[in-house]
Amino acid sequence: MVAETKSKSLSITLRVWRQAGPAAPGGFVDYAAKNLSSDMSFLEMLDVVNDELTMKGEEPIAFAHDCREGICGTCSCMINGKPHGPGHGIATCQTYMRSFTDGDVIVVEPFRARAFPLIKDLVVDRSAFDKIIQAGGFISVRTGAAPDANSIPVPKPDADLAMDAAACIGCGACVAACKNASAMLFVAAKVSQLGLFPQGQPERDSRVLSMVGTMDSLGFGNCTNQYECSAACPKVISHDFIARMNRDYLRASVRATFKPASASAAGGGG
């Protein structure tokens, strides 16, 4: 039987990237955080540090966060050089101080990628991800036009695999972990999820071409098969989806070249 774990106290030095805005110069600043409970989450530790800064009349550290349970994808930042910190398969908000040792120096930086410009301190702009989804990360179905849900059976293995891909929280850790700042894992996850469903087939080719094209145009790099993305992903989404997307992309490219299109693609009549 495992006993209830007792909390311990620890003190650490926080080395944080501070930058007032995109055009302002940035730099590391050290803060001492003392007598923390090991049961505290990493973000709760930042809350405590920020309250102390506020009381001293200094501006608190800006950091992105919301749900604090690893599902909204808002929290970001590099902790000791790793997106979302030392844990495997968790987000920054699910990192607890028990992962650190008394006396540690913890280095905290924003995600670095050209497509994620810095806003302030640890906060970056990830709206590029929204633009990629807008480029085709959907199945075009008007509200009210759907057939009965059970009229489209989906083999369980396909549905399960689609769910593995759909678990993406859009945090951008994959981009931050990649030396090329590639968004391939993010794009591949959505392309694969929708491509695994029968209802995703009509737009399968146009979706992958459009999403990949948009990704490229937004300044994300390409994939060179290092798989750092999957290793950093808080939902451990497999890089196999990238291979799947590459197959889809190749097939769609070939079909786009050779497939005759109807001359009257747009309707009209009546």
Binding site: M1, V2, E4, T5, S7, A20, S37, E44, D47, N50, T54, M55, G57, E58, E59, A62, H65, D66, C67, R68, E69, I71, C72, T74, G87, G89, I90, Q94, Y96, I119, K120, S127, I133, Q134, G136, F138, I139, V141, R142, T143, A145, A146, P147, A149, N150, I152, P153, V154, K156, A159, A162, M163, A166, A167, I169, G170, L194, F197, Q199, G200
Partner: protein, 640 residues
């Protein structure tokens, strides 16, 4: 005094919605593009409404304070979504879902609204499946179901433990599609800080850009608020840290009535509180109660013993004992109060004594560890991250926490508030869950409102507005509202006191939890009504908000929201004080049966209380809308 006309159509219950849809006014397709609709919020209700209205041809502006619409807090819902599909052939029907929801809400919701919710529930599943939402499936490829509290059928559809995420991403994909079509203008990082009323109708909003600090005016023909619940008035809750009451509170101060704010849901299965620094509480999905058994030791002396050493006859599986028909799957309010009672008796477990066990040993014996992992693996992982304990090896420790708010802005059957042109959807309104919401019904309501109700009902209002008649943002009402927002911002920055905002939020949360939590008394509420105004005064005298208004300033955002909670909390307590009965999530110790169950007073309180703002420092007016039950008999809930 506000006029509260519910506009519930006449006729048999099952025909009301169909009949209403055929009778309300329509806007012709060519005219739709002449109307602009503002949607605030992008959770399930907001994004589904924005996408659907844009599909219909309306020009939509969507405002969200998050950096992306995909991050709205609907994303965190774990367990599932109810729908009366009867795919399990276990006797489900629209009527049963209606009845369970009415009964689960302790007979404090509107019959017609709830019936409509049950009717459209089946369309939601169709819509989401067509969007590519990866629902759990059986080997034959058809959709799987599980059971949730307050029901004796399996009608809950789910996507592992991430149903809210998957449904929200489905709605977000529909929203994204319409953004790329140019039909929706998305404003992310944009917080609504006031509603603009022109000639008594909602015609616009004032927004602060959270990145640049810029304050802008936006006019529209109608305004939809889908801004979620106010549970963070308790500070510690399962809500996201950013969830707030600000949008609906500011609408309240512009004349929209706030209905039943005291109906707050305390979820029975959350990870217990550990320390003062804590910023949030994490839910362990209700779905766990399908296979987990809740118990505490029978004797106080055993409460610190390792659970495995407490012999079977010395354990009290109190929900199975008290509610044999529903057992561990009784409704949330019932399960939460039962947990509180056994802890008050000194039998609570864990360091603080505020915890009960949720034990999977039987399930592991029956299904094997792999079987349990397949169903709940991600929840067990979350539990392990937070507590460093393995629920495969020892029972989880859980305790109730604030999770949802049934109250919200008053709306009629068309989801319009008493302010014409101001519509309220999802958790932000009060309409469908009465005094207690059943599990897997929040997702259902959010999407019902957005996909299948508002697209019809907004037409009835807009058809009465002349196309092109919306006011210009240069109208004096817009300027006054903008000045109001600017002054509030400058006032917060100018106090320059010594205490960070979080200190006030924590203190408010303690007052609320202690005096207006799972059990409420007249004395406690009266005490809270003294403490809250005093705390509010202290806040406005000594809060420290560093930085400027012209940049990203999270302290300023938080200060504005906590400032509103400090006002709203008072109204919540006042509502709880004036409702002299117990019902659902509102439990007044003075009003209970000898066995501790809720004692309602249908004669005197079988109504909705809708509070009307009377100005700063004035006691708000308590309007009532009688709940006329035509088809169901208000009876004592029985889960035994």
């Amino acid at each position: 005094m506000a006029k509260l006309d519910s506009k519930v159509p006449s006729g048999p219950l099952a025909d009301k919605w169909r009949k209403h849809k055929t009778e309300i006014k329509l806007v012709n397709p060519a005219n739709k593009r002449k109307y602009e609709v503002i949607v605030v919020g992008a959770g399930l209700a907001g994004s589904s409404a924005a996408a659907t209205l844009a599909e219909l041809g309306y020009k939509v502006k969507n405002f969200v304070f998050h950096d992306s619409p995909r991050r709205a807090h609907s994303i965190a819902a774990q367990g599932g979504i109810n729908a009366a599909k009867n795919y399990q052939n276990d006797g489900d029907s629209v009527h049963r879902l209606f009845y369970d929801t009415i009964k689960g809400g302790d007979y404090r919701s509107r019959e017609a609204n709830v019936h409509r919710l049950a009717e459209v529930s089946v369309n939601i599943i169709d819509q989401c499946a067509a969007q590519g939402v990866p629902f759990a499936r059986e080997y034959g490829g058809l959709l799987a179901n599980r059971s949730f509290g307050g029901a004796q059928v399996s009608r809950t559809f789910y996507a592992r433990g991430q149903t809210g995420q998957q449904l929200l991403l489905g709605a977000y994909s529909a929203l994204s599609r319409m953004i790329s079509a140019g039909a929706i203008e998305l404003h992310a990082n944009s917080e609504m800080l006031d509603v603009v009323i022109v000639d008594g109708q909602a015609k616009g909003i004032i927004v602060r850009d959270l990145i640049t600090g810029e304050i802008t005016r936006h006019a529209a023909d109608a305004v939809i608020l889908a801004t979620g619940g106010y549970g963070n008035v308790f500070n510690l809750s399962t809500y996201a840290r950013g969830s707030n009451v600000t949008a609906i509170w500011r609408a309240y101060k512009r004349g929209a009535c706030m209905a039943n704010p005291c109906y707050t849901q305390i979820h029975p299965t959350c990870i217990p509180v550990t320390g003062d620094y804590q910023s949030k509480l994490t839910l362990m999905s209700e779905s766990l109660r399908n296979d987990g058994r809740i118990w505490v030791p029978k004797r106080k002396e055993d409460r610190q013993k390792p659970p495995a050493t407490v012999a079977e006859p010395d354990r009290d599986y109190y929900l199975e004992r008290l509610y044999p028909a529903f057992g561990n799957l009784c409704p949330r309010d019932v399960a939460s109060r039962a947990a509180k009672r056994v802890c008050d008796e000194g039998r609570g477990v864990g360091e603080t004594g505020l915890g009960v066990y949720l034990d999977f040993a039987d399930a592991i014996n029956r299904l094997g560890e792999a079987g349990v992992r397949e169903r709940y693996g991600n929840l067990f992982d979350i539990y392990h991250e937070i507590t460093a304990e393995s629920a495969y090896q020892q029972p989880m420790r859980i305790y109730p926490a604030v999770h949802y708010t049934m109250g919200g802005l008053w709306v009629d059957y068309n989801l319009m508030s008493n302010v014409p042109g101001l519509f309220v959807l999802g958790e932000a309104n009060f309409s469908d869950h009465g005094a207690n919401r059943l599990g897997a019904s929040a997702l259902m309501q959010g999407l019902a409102d957005g996909y299948f109700v508002i697209p019809y009902t907004i037409g009835d209002y807009l058809a009465g507005q002349k196309p092109g008649s919306r006011p210009s943002v240069d109208a004096p009402e817009f300027k006054a509202a903008e000045d109001n927002v600017r002054n509030a911002t400058n006032r917060l920055l100018g106090i320059n006191g010594r205490e960070p905002v979080s200190h006030f939020h924590k203190r408010l949360g303690k007052i609320m939890w202690e005096h207006c939590g799972m059990a409420r008394t007249k004395e406690g509420l009266e005490e809270a009504l003294k403490l809250i105004p005093a705390l509010r005064e202290e806040f406005w005298a000594t809060v420290k908000v560093p930085g400027s208004a012209e940049t990203l300033n999270q302290s300023l955002e938080q200060a504005g929201r906590v400032g509103d909670f400090l006002e709203f909390g008072e109204l919540l307590c006042l509502d709880a004080l004036k409702r002299e009965e117990s019902c659902g999530g509102h439990f007044r110790e003075e009003h209970q049966f000898p066995d501790g169950e809720c004692k309602r007073d249908d004669t005197n309180y079988g109504h909705v209380a809708a509070w009307e703002y009377q100005g700063a420092g004035q006691t708000p007016l308590r309007n009532t809308e009688p709940l006329n039950y035509e088809f169901t008999k208000m009876s004592v809930r029985n889960y035994k």
